[in-house]
Symmetry: C2
Subunit: 190 residues, 2 copies
């Protein structure tokens, strides 16, 4: 069953009766996407949220100056959402691109909003997940302030080896906030 991974993931975060869990998951629909295709593109309005079953995505944004900045990579067991665009129905500033052929479970906006109203535990689930994400972003900021690009690179390799192995150096550099030329020089050193 393709829903097992999602159910496991949810149960890791909260306690939930199995009938509620089943009902919640029933709104998620399997969806396949090919390498290099976009699940969401900057400027469009996000009408879904997704949970990755297979493959890998890169979530990035391009600012007015043309700088491309990678926020994170989402592999199996990660979520794909643009909260700002999804909740406020405004144009997204994010791109979600499949780095390889991938499979996700998608839920539509109206179903998600309905779940919030009908199953209070869903509020708790996303409250807990958001808070965990918040902690991670704060830690990342501190790392960025206190470590050099070289240290951050090795930390990334150490913590996400299975994700890193799927990425090009250019993508890693964009995530670290450095040029790919400089990343190449870092690699030569160590």
């Amino acid at each position: 069953m393709s829903y097992d991974l999602l159910k496991q993931h949810i149960k890791k975060n909260i306690q939930i009766p199995s009938n509620e869990l089943d009902r919640m998951c029933s709104y998620f629909k399997p969806f396949g996407i090919k390498k290099r295709d976009f699940l969401l593109q900057q400027g469009s309005i996000c009408k879904f949220e997704g949970f990755v079953l297979e493959g890998c995505f890169r979530i990035f944004t391009t600012d007015k100056k043309g700088n491309e900045s990678t926020l994170y990579f989402a592999a199996c067991d990660w979520w794909l959402m643009d909260i700002d665009s999804f909740m406020n129905q405004k144009p997204s500033s994010l791109n979600m691109q499949a780095l390889e052929d991938s499979k996700v479970l998608m839920i539509e906006r109206k179903d998600k909003l309905a779940l919030y109203e009908t199953i209070p535990t869903v509020e708790k689930l996303f409250r807990v997940m958001s808070q965990n994400a918040l902690i991670a972003w704060q830690r990342l900021l501190v790392r960025n302030h206190s470590e050099t690009a070289k240290e951050r690179y090795h930390h990334f390799l150490e913590v996400y080896p299975n994700i890193a192995s799927k990425l090009t150096d250019k993508q890693i550099a964009s995530y670290l906030g450095i040029t790919h030329e400089f990343l190449s020089k870092i690699k030569r050193q160590a």
Copy 2:
């Protein structure tokens, strides 16, 4: 009433019946703290959450190397929480220091946890707040990757003039992730 600010703040985030709002707020207790004193210190376990009524706080962390990194400043209408320490009851990595004589509304851990169980709307409130905070941290990361220290400095002055006016240059530099010497040189330029 010192609770008006908190009530206004909550109503900006969610719709909530006034009886629930009253009940929720009743668990918050006023608390005063003197300039330079700590509401929370790194290493201790966080047993409260707070909402700032007056004054200003600096939330920062010191890593093994002795680098001090300021995560944010909390003035009137902001929250003081260390989610990681509060939820998981583990030693905090954050310091919350009053930059001037301040007043906060504090809620104890057991009361907060009870509120989650008894008033589902509280889950929604903190889900919404966490998601908004998440968006802000993501934007900040992109700024840090795409802008120079000078640009980030002026952006900070522009967006938070009332907070910036209360801070020393050293505190601002720590927030921007630069040395105070370099901040001084930035100021001379513009």
